[in-house]
Symmetry: D2
Subunit: 350 residues, 4 copies
């Protein structure tokens, strides 16, 4: 019953097999092998256009270097107030990009377009003292289990474009969002106006596979240097490439995400059937936020369930009661139906 | 016949097996798992004292963050003029530490103690305009195949200590040096006065396993933040831990390094028997630098041999002739006797 | 009628005379002259204890380098949400210190202690992902004309101390606050727990004189390097020293601030007598914020009055009407009674 | 007898008078006043083309931000091995630009073109590991009293242009070089291919007046932000503008530099007439390097002469004898004939 995070899961067997095969070969280092190059082509196919792809070690690196690639002196980046870049990366995006992250409020992890417009307006292009707007970043799926619809991405993208700002998408859970929307990778990104994507594989069955995808290769002209200077160029880079090869082969990545989402659906359904637990807000990806009775939660923990307490946000429709607590549950490619059912039984006291 | 670099090799089967086993489990993320913690204890044992250990993604990260951990404003770091930190890391050490790398000359990859003394003296602790001495770093084994003897490390260490400077060791090929010297890890590091070590596993049979070892845990007090802020904290950190577990188990790492060194010995012996090739300078680890006839080198390449041309250094005892070239050959855990013998035959024209 | 800012004023004649005298001499450069050293002693006297003093070029530099001197990796600094460091310095504090500025709300430019406690609690010392509390900074006088009472500084200081955080004071208008409170420099700073002070002279009669005062000289041990590395060490530093000498001689600085504050009092009194203008909130230093009729404001501007419109804050007790506007008026050592009276007449339509 | 440095001199009376006049006025802050703008036009005239001009606080800032304005990730800047940017600015150019300074040897403070070509060739545009060439900077007049001829600037400029590298000139002693060459500002800069100039006034009669001049205003598009973010935007910027106004009026700056150079000529002539002192190498600006008898130097010091000992460079045509020492003498606008003659008498033991 591991619901603490999708990064508590291991790695998928297909990916492991590909890694095993890779380990017996010699090949050129630092991203120059044939395999590395073939994966770049694979991403072109995946996104239905020419893209530039760079592997990095962590999601934090993907976000930080994406923003660094479009940084300007005195620039600021707009993100949701609960975004990973502002809350959970220890200032790495600010460090690498030299930009400040400006929080934009909005319900349940999504920037409210009006708030975004208002915030950007405070940082005009001649605001030498205050700082100037330089980028927008959104997280898809969001940090709180929700997913921007294509129309909602359009709304953010339109604002970015009208203000001449590049748009970055933090796709640490890109596959989960894609499956939830039933969209293609192209539809959810550059066709919506996304310029740069942090494409995460680690949370969805790889053990370490993060890529930055530039939809306009011109944006990436300095990136090879930025990556090396940031200590993010793997010598045995092809082991990242190998993971991505297996991950993308025959739609494995979508199957894994579909499984994780289905397990979350099962959790949602199970908890909704109960009177003693309720979803704090509606989610559609592989994260759910549930208000449960404290004693039921403790019982689940006693049986080995792993999950995190969550700070009650200001915009909870129905407040958490005295004998209740808010918890976050995350499913993954490795979550089983048995685990879900056992947890539901314990959490709902049945 | 892959002699281009030891990072062209894959990963050792024992390490792969350990990774496979790890991949089927759930465990806590971001370096907090039991496995992560057990490896820290394993390093204590290995080094015969309490140490602090932090995994990072690349050797460049290990070096850069090691230096960042002891950085001072206006500080400079002394390194050999051919050191990886000054020649091959795209300025990452400068970027992360805010320090400048000051080259110190010395024969065949090793800082000459007199030169080091003279260089340090130019950066006294009150040199506000010029900058002040803040750290010394040496590479063991060096970038050109040589190995500092314990006495030579002592000499550098004494100078560092007399000037109040922390001493860092870049151990990207730590195991190869250890085997070459027949020393223990403790003897080659803190017993010699080394304060911080970049402990590399990637070149010697892991696919990605780099650690920073602080021999004085007090030096590491801010390091968890420094690493996260530098985008170097893996979510599935335990996959690094797992590699190190297998790597260190039953002396595997030393066996792999001993094999690589033995293959280099075989190369050295084979080439020395020839009149048409000669070692450019004496090396004792898994890198050798050879002057070969151009046509022999081309013949070897035509048969699939991989190696790099090398820039002729200023201090070559015997210059490279017109029909000759200088090449670098690197062996690894995966090098075979057959490959060595075949290469020797081709390179010596026999 | 120059009320746009106190930095629109020129320089006081006594300070000019001292500069003239200085200009005819030769003296050692880079802050090593006798005069530079004597000013350091003068600050000891002024603050009734041994302090370390460093001149820098701008108030932004004073704040940024103060914070840089206590920075930690992953650290964050708490400041009022309208503080100069977060609103008006183009990210310089973040750039030099590597820290993020975390806004703390509070009425009229002063951090609310409860909010400060709550904010600090979100950044505990082991919050590797989120970041950790590292410093607190308050502005005295504040950016909106108010002044922290000694008790209010105590309240902030107590919180900082309890959390082990150094406390910085942005004293761009230090003298105006001192005069408003009738306190001594010691009473308003280190006796309250302030560790580092940006001591501003530029807005109060100098043309360029900013100093960083460390109340614990141990905090300043690296500062000479930090300043030089930050391009803030003047070669003819003694011209800053000379300004400070004249500024501090015979209490000139307090007389100039008292004049500026008195002119603000005269403005306050004049506007309060009117029905057509009102103070937006109560201020006690040399800045006042007034709601005036738009046509009266325009009439004043037409006659050459200079002032800035001000964005209506969320916590205005009485909102700005449709035919009204909120303006900021700043007085200085150079403001005359005539200018005040003329402005009052115009702004109140009399 | 102040020959320690030209920054030991005070400020010229004409400049003081202009400052006095400025101090009695109110005017807009942060570089937006009419005076600030008029000086920009004055620079256009001076350089016979449209330029962008930005004032900063120090020569170190001028150099550091000039290089920052053309920085690239992984970029390196080529400078003479004794250049101020690499020897005397505590790493500020590296800090602000994120680039490393690569030393280029050459006799007497001037980069040897062949060495420059050879060095640049080591940093090609695809050298991800090593770093890539990004800028060239030369100092005019050099740090050791020599002056690049127009042809010599052409030679450096041609190399920069052929490699696509912007060319910066550190003109801390720009006027002294100009006078020495008898050239116009345009002839010594953009007509030679210089892209960015650190235009120094401080050493030549101002007390603080440094400007960055962009000959292609497009290069300056981000500079206003870069300057503010670097804490280099003066609030009372017009006091810098006022200094430059007086400095440039009626050729004052050239007269002051001509005087300084003439005093150096007088020193050169006086010392050359002696058998007991000799110029270490030929200089043509306001710095001279002299080998004197130790006892004569001590006698001069005893009489109050100020000068610096100088480290003997490797390329001294005639080595310094046992009873001799090498000293640097710098003249300025404030040096008198009497001081020169007295010094010559003492130093030559007559």
């Amino acid at each position: 019953m591991f619901f603490a995070s999708d990064n508590w899961a291991g790695a998928h067997s297909t990916i492991n097999e590909r890694l095993l095969k890779e380990s017996t070969r010699f090949a050129a280092a630092y991203g120059t092998s044939e395999l590395d190059k073939s994966i770049e082509l694979r991403f072109n196919e995946l996104f239905e256009r020419e893209v530039s792809v760079y592997f990095v070690a962590t999601g934090t690196a993907a976000n930080s270097l994406s923003l660094a690639s479009v940084a300007k002196p005195g620039g600021v980046t707009f993100c949701h107030s609960e975004a990973h870049v502002i809350e959970d990366e220890c200032g790495a995006p600010d460090f690498f990009s030299g930009m400040r992250m400006i929080p934009v409020e909005g319900p349940h992890g999504k920037m409210d377009p009006e708030n975004l417009v208002e915030r950007i307006a405070r940082y005009p292009q001649d605001a030498v003292h205050h700082g100037r707007a330089a980028a927008v970043t959104l997280t898809q799926a969001t940090e709180v289990g929700t997913v921007y619809s294509l129309e909602e991405i359009d709304a953010v993208s339109k604002i970015a474009r009208e203000n001449g700002l590049p748009l970055h998408m933090d796709g640490a859970r890109f596959a989960n969002a894609l499956v939830a929307l039933g969209a293609t990778p192209a539809e959810m990104t550059w066709k919506r106006g996304v310029d740069i994507l942090s494409f995460g594989g680690t949370k969805n069955g790889c053990w370490c596979a993060e890529a930055i995808v530039f939809f306009d290769p011109a944006l990436a002209k300095d990136f090879a240097f930025l990556r090396k200077r940031s200590a993010q160029l793997f010598s045995k880079s092809r082991f990242i490439a190998a993971q991505f090869e297996a991950y993308l082969q025959d739609g494995l990545w979508l199957k894994l995400a579909a499984h994780a989402n289905a397990m979350a659906d099962r959790l949602r359904a199970g908890l909704d059937r109960s009177n003693s637990a309720r979803q704090a807000w509606k989610t559609t990806s592989n994260e759910i936020f549930v208000v449960v009775k404290k004693d039921a939660a403790q019982a689940a923990e006693a049986k080995g369930a792993k999950f995190y307490d969550w700070l009650e946000p200001r915009d909870m429709p129905e407040p958490v009661g005295k004998d209740e607590m808010l918890v976050r549950l995350v499913t993954s490619f490795a979550t089983t139906e048995e685990d879900v059912d056992q947890f539901v039984a314990l959490a709902t006291g049945r």
